[in-house]
Symmetry: C2
Subunit: 150 residues, 2 copies
DNA sequence: TATCTTAATGAAAGTCAATCTCAATCAGCT
DNA sequence: AGCTGATTGAGATTGACTTTCATTAAGATA
C-alpha cells in the first residue's frame, strides 16, 4: 500500500519521454501534491488546494491538462460521475475497488469484491468485449444518514 | 417486455396528482415519444428528434424538466456517464441490466447478471448501506472494433 | 360554461465544468 | 549561450444543463 514516490516519478518521467513530452516542474509538483492529498477529489477542489500552498503557482489549465495526462499514465482514475461533477482518486499503491455513494451526505465507502470482478470478466468474454476499465457506483443512504432520518 | 402504454400513462397521471402537478399535453406526449424511441438517448438528440416531428412543439426546457420528472417516476434511468454526456434509457417493461460501452465506436451492449446483483446486495449489507440504484459501466473495445484494428 | 387560481411553458439569460487559443516562457538538445 | 518546439497561464469559448419571468394552459369552482 505504501507508494514509493520517487519510483513513481521516475516511471512518469520515462512515460513523458516516450511521448516526447517534457519533464516540467508543474508536472512533478502535481504528482507530489496528489500523492499527499489522500482523499477523493474534484478538480476545482484541487485547484483551490494547490493555490493555497503558495510555494509555486500552477494554473487551472495546467491542472486540468495534467489530470488528463495522469489518467492516461494510470495514476489517477475517475471514480464517481454524479450530477455534473467528476470525482477522482489517486490510485497508485491502492488495489482496485468500487464505491458506495451516499446521496444524502456525500460519504464515499470503498469496497473490494473479487467475485464481482471475476463475474465482470466472464460477462466480457461472453460478449467478446475487451474491458479496459470499469466503474461500479452504488447510490443509496449510508447508515449514519438512515439513523438521523428516523 | 411488452409495455402497456395506457396503463403507464394512467400511473403517471396518478403520480402527478399525488405531487399536485398538472397532467399536461407535453408530459403525455413525451411519454409516447420516449416509449416509441426504443434506443439509448441523449437529451439533445431527443430535443432534435422531438422537434423534427412537427405535430406539436415541446421546448428544450420542458424536455429537460420532464426527463427529470420521469426519472423520479422511474420510467427513465441515467445509464452511462462518459466525458460530460449523459445517456438515458426508457426502462419501462425492461428488466434491470448493466452496460458494456465501446470507447471506439460508442456501441452499447446490455447484459444481465443476477450473481453480480446479488453480490452487490451483500456488499451493501456488509456496510449497512441502503442501496437505491446503481450503475455498472464497463468501458473497453467491442469485437467489431478489435477486428478493424488488426 | 365562464371565471379564477396556480402550475407549466418557452425563450432567453445564466451557470459551471471543461476545453481551447495564443502570446510568453521553459525544457532540453547542440 | 543559443535554438526549437513543447508547455504554460489568462482569458475566451464551448456545451450541457438550469433558472428566470412573462405568458399560457390546467383544472377547480360556481
Ligand atoms: Mn476510492
Ligand atoms: Mn440499456
Ligand atoms: Zn450519508
Ligand atoms: Zn466498438
Amino acid at each position: 500500500m505504501k507508494v514509493n514516490l520517487n519510483q513513481l516519478k521516475e516511471e512518469f518521467k520515462k512515460y513523458l519521454k516516450r511521448k516526447n513530452m517534457k519533464i516540467t516542474q508543474s508536472r512533478l509538483d502535481l504528482i507530489d501534491l496528489l500523492a499527499s492529498y489522500g482523499k477523493h477529489f474534484e478538480v476545482e477542489e484541487l485547484v483551490n488546494w494547490v493555490s493555497s500552498r503558495t510555494d509555486r503557482r500552477v494554473s487551472r489549465s495546467t491542472i486540468y491538462r495534467t489530470i488528463k495526462l495522469l489518467q492516461e499514465f494510470g495514476a489517477i482514475k475517475e471514480v464517481i460521475k454524479q450530477n455534473n461533477r467528476t470525482i477522482y482518486e489517486f490510485v497508485v499503491g491502492k488495489p482496485h475497488h468500487d464505491h458506495l455513494v451516499c446521496v444524502e451526505c456525500g460519504r464515499i465507502i470503498e469496497f473490494v469484491n473479487e467475485d464481482i470482478e471475476n463475474l465482470q470478466d466472464e460477462v466480457c468474454k461472453e460478449y467478446d468485449f475487451e474491458p479496459m476499465n470499469h466503474r461500479l457506483e452504488i447510490f443509496g443512504i449510508c447508515s449514519d444518514c438512515r439513523r438521523k432520518n428516523i
